[in-house]
Amino acid sequence: MNPAATTVVLFAPVAVPLITAAVFAATRRRDLTAWAGLLSPATILAGGITLAVTVTRHGPVATGNRLLRADALTAWMLLVVGAVATLACAAGPAYLAHERAAGHTDKSGTRRYNMLVHAFLGAMCAAVLAANLGVLWVAIEATTIVTAFLVGHRRTRASVEAAWKYVVICSAGIALAFLGTVLIYYAARQAGISEASALDWPTLAAHADRLDPDVTRLGMALIVIGFGAKAGLVPLHAWLPDAHSQAPAPVSALMSGVLLAVSFTAVLRYKVIADAAVGPEFTRILLATAALLTLALAASVLLGQRDYKRMLAYSSMEHMALIALGAAIGSPLAIAAVLLHIAGHGLAKTVAFTSSGHILHLQRTTRIGRVRALLTRAPGLGAAFALAVLALLGLPPFSLFASELGIVRAGFAAGMGWPTAIALLLVLTAFAALAARTARMLLGAVPDTPAAPLRPARLGAAGLPLAVGLAACAALGITTWPLTRLLTDAAAIIGGH
């Protein structure tokens, strides 16, 4: 690819969503058509595909004075962000129409929603594409700022509370990650790396063995806690269930499906540096501890969960914990499974959250106990929700089955039998809880109320994104073609040491 084309392909996934956001902000007179919102996800997806082809053939590309850079991991994450964003943005207009009909939002609320969602996508793509670790930090903090008002969209007591906790906990957590970044920068400067390159990831990764081990250890611990906060890992996870349950359904899908994973990719990038500087044991212990504690917490809370949006939020924590465990194992197989898990979880969780939004509109409650016989009342919606939960439970043919199996196999092969066995036990607990709660929502007899005659609610066109998401998740579970090469390359970047 020539330099000009590289610049366009690397800048477009950041610039187009930001421009779309600006257009939504500037257009006061009339609503933009609903499909205008699909332009930026489509750009991200197209950018991901182009980069996937380029980097598997010619290796990493960079532009803008090493500001933006793409390797196989970038292309993979960009594809996941693009796919999830397409599904979430396609579900947006139907969600907003319902909210307006119910009087929860108005015209300016809709405009603000669209503007913030696209700014959020732009910030997320900047985080994925950033070559400079400082810029990566700035982009991830920007996602917190942009999504704060999406979490607090409804302005009720609950949503203001969720937004406050979200901004305070995430900003403080991510501030710790910045302290970690500063320490790594200090170590790099002392190792003789110039000011301009001392936060440049490829340079750091290449010269990581020269970094001072003690300083790097301190920095890495702060990085895992800090970016772990945005990825929903213990100890700074308390914002996650609140924010994910209060945000509008498509935004919950984006936050849970990709934002957690994008923050975790930052940890993966630092892992390469820390492994070279202090050996893999240190990061392995940090990540495995965080993973098992998160898993234990998520599983125990899932057992008593009464709210289905919070149930999905804790299931996100469970899956992020599995991803962290895979990263702790760190072999190429484990990292490939982690990346596949990120993609599968993103797709399945998007479908689950989007259908939870439809369920909320249908039933006007998020209490599990008040939803009954969903499969009879709304067969299409019930089936989509059921299949999404089956995918999240890790059943075949969905890709989460293959990736969980991969993580477990890699865990036993790498001599991490005990942590993996404990994790399996906790996953089984979460499995039972999630399955029982979902079955209660889906099955059962429709209560006899003469006022409401039984007419199954139809999903219509709103069902299309759900079906596409489930199909994509199942297809990834059957074969990773044509992405196999990209997945192997991306896994080699993190796990190839």
Binding site: G134, W137, A148, V160, W164, K165, V182, Y185, D214, R310
Partner: protein, 219 residues
């Protein structure tokens, strides 16, 4: 500037920086806290300016000026406005009383010195020797963030945390690259703006800004 004068001025600025954090912890009056926070911003700008003058880096002087404008003027002005709109100028009952808070601050400062020994050992210069001060302020900020009950006190805690980290960046490596510094400052400014708007909304729906009453959401 002679080396000993540089060291003494740097230590003086760092001392004022740490003292400001302790005063914020000690006083419950939010207006005082904001005023002291502005002074702390000046101390931080002075640290950056001293480093710039010592290393003959004029770009650092510009960064110092920027930090002064943001942390000694813009952020305190934002906080003062939020205070004027609110009227709840006192921290009601912090979770930890003043004596215990001050003792904790002393313990946190010792912890900062213990933790940063490898950082100082890597490159012992007058600047890195003062580095534990930045870490101590960050820890005190975190402590304020978790123990205070007014929304605005939490914001002050967050800002102290951020000041501390910026100080560490300057003392360890004369600051992060300019583009990162700009991005970070912009993010902090926006985060505080967002928190200010959320405080207004909190007052609108709850009637006050006591964090203890945020208990709609639980499992």
């Amino acid at each position: 500037m002679s080396d000993s004068a540089y060291t003494q001025l740097l230590d003086l600025a760092c001392g004022a920086f740490l003292l400001a954090a302790v005063v914020v912890l000690w006083r419950r009056d939010l207006a005082t806290a904001v005023r002291v926070f502005a002074l702390q911003g000046l101390a931080l700008a002075a640290v950056a300016a001293l480093l710039g003058a010592h290393e003959h880096r004029w770009d650092l002087l510009a960064v110092a000026a920027g930090i002064g404008v943001l942390r000694a003027w813009a952020l305190p002005a934002l906080m003062r406005r939020a205070l004027a709109a609110g009227g709840e100028a006192r921290e009601s009952q912090p979770l930890v009383n003043v004596t215990a808070s001050l003792l904790t601050a002393a313990a946190l400062t010792l912890l900062a010195y213990a933790v940063s020994r490898p950082l100082v050992a890597l490159n012992p210069t007058p600047a890195t020797r003062a580095l534990p001060v930045g870490l101590a302020v960050a820890l005190i900020g975190f402590f304020i963030l978790v123990t205070r009950r007014r929304a605005l006190s939490q914001v002050v805690g967050f800002l102290l945390l951020d000041n501390g980290i910026t100080a560490v960046a300057f003392l360890a490596a004369s600051g992060v690259p300019l583009i990162v510094e700009l991005g970070v400052s912009f993010d902090v400014l926006l985060a505080v703006l967002v928190l200010r708007i959320l405080t207004t909304r909190m007052r609108a729906v709850f009637g006050h800004t006591d964090i203890d009453d945020l208990r709609e959401l639980h499992d």
